[in-house]
């Protein structure tokens, strides 16, 4: 049963015109903003497949920028997202990519400010639902439907156990988990989807674990 709630069918409330090209795109932008943790000063957005072909007519561009400004799919400010971004000091650039992508509705979002930058790849899978498939070069899958934490750590033995034991001690159940690394023995990334939001004090415990470089929380 894919559709368990009546509100999957009568809903979501959203800014038109397309659940996949508009609402899903806004979700990808918002996940980028949440994972980055603050408002970026610049954004470079590469669009692939159907996103690249029809983004202007579907408002995919304003929807992604709206997401970067932390707007929800139903936030009417999405329509004025370009102007609001300019006012907020966010410079935006869109690039239509010719190349193929695994999924027809794919966006690669690069964002940053003077301190650091961040990159992710998101896909819009229909009905307003979206998934992240890559974060800072690490291939991972994140649905954004459940609370999750993103842990950057050294690729050493015990790093994963130290994080999961903190969660176990605090009776937090893991629904889905993935680990990805670019090179053996260097940096690696964990995505852990949990049943409940992780409180701030537990986030601090996690940051203090051995081999852990950073921890980011993403809510639903």
């Amino acid at each position: 049963m894919k559709f368990r709630s009546v509100f999957d069918v009568i809903g979501p409330v959203m800014i038109g015109p397309s659940s996949s090209h508009t609402a899903g795109a806004a979700r990808i932008g918002k996940m980028a903003r949440q994972l980055y943790g603050r408002q970026p000063k610049w954004a470079k957005i590469l669009l692939y497949g159907s996103f690249a072909k029809t983004y202007q007519g579907h408002g995919t561009d304003v929807a992604i920028v709206g997401g970067l400004l932390d707007f929800d799919t139903f936030d009417e400010r999405i329509r004025e997202a370009f102007q609001l971004a300019e006012e907020a000091g966010l410079t935006v650039e869109f690039i239509e990519e010719e190349g193929a992508s695994d999924h027809p509705n794919t966006a690669r979002i690069k964002i940053g400010d003077d301190e650091s930058d961040f990159e992710l790849v998101g896909i819009s899978i229909g009905g307003g639902k979206a998934e992240i498939t890559e974060i800072n070069g690490f291939e991972l899958r994140l649905s954004g439907e459940n609370p999750a934490i993103l842990v950057l750590h050294n690729d050493r033995h015990g790093a994963i156990a130290s994080v999961t034991s903190v969660l176990a001690d605090n009776k937090i159940n893991i629904g889905h988990m993935e680990v990805s690394r670019r090179d053996k023995g260097k940096e690696a990334m964990m995505i852990i989807e949990t049943d409940q939001r992780i409180p701030d004090e537990i986030m601090e415990n996690l940051e203090g674990c051995e081999h852990i470089l950073s921890v980011i929380s993403i809510s639903e």
Partner: protein, 297 residues
Amino acid sequence: MLFKNVSELIQAAEENNIPIAEVMIRQEVEETGKPREEIFAEMGRNLDIMEKSVEDGLNGVQSTSGLTGGDAVLLKNYMEKGNTLSGELVLDVISKAVATNEVNAAMGTICATPTAGSAGCVPGVLFGLKPRLNPTRKQMINFLFTAGAFGQVIANNAMISGAAGGCQAEVGSAAGMASAAAVEMAGGSPQQSAEAMAMTLKNMLGLVCDPVAGLVEVPCVKRNAMGSSQAIVSADMSLAGVTSRIPCDEVIGAMFRIGKSMPSTLRETGEGGLAATPTGRALAAKVFGPAAASKEG
């Protein structure tokens, strides 16, 4: 789950002597663990959004591409002059369906029912029937739960997106959901709701998804008008005692198999059907430029 298909849904309503809307509400409580009042209030907010979209569309909107907008106003003015062919009720229904889809195309706020492209049928039928049946707010919210129950069965046993199964899965599902809910609001039995849905969906079988320039505008807006008018006709047929020779669940099964065998050019790619006509391609070129139009087609 209290029901997996239409026959279980009808059985649950008949055995407990409750309307379909009530079966849906009980299932939602069981599934989410949320209190009943909260679920009802959430659906009430969706109803308010739908009412606002209808109002905005009837005041006149225009999409960014320029392909759609303003037809809801034409229909409303024509209806108000009187002396129409299809009658005031049908024109009221379709003007409100078109209004919703025009607002969607113009990047307005809508409630997807079940998708954004098919968002006009359910509110079109609901708000078009409102002057005739004078429903209470509670009855209007129940209309949405009933439509949702049938939509959930289609979504889980077939598909509700044009990309997966063509327009039959999108506007076809929306029209079927609206007809079933219309029967219940008019005082019909749960079985009569299922008959209306079966008759609506049967007539939508095979409908392809072929949007010009890949946009949710042409022919989507007008297909919502046609879908919602069929919903009203099927509801009346069912209330008159006409039944479908093919049971509702089997019609959904047929829709699923037809959708699976549809080529991808006719499933929301903007590459076939009306999108591939000379005018369809010319419109795409006007909206996105000649390069984009050749990519599309």
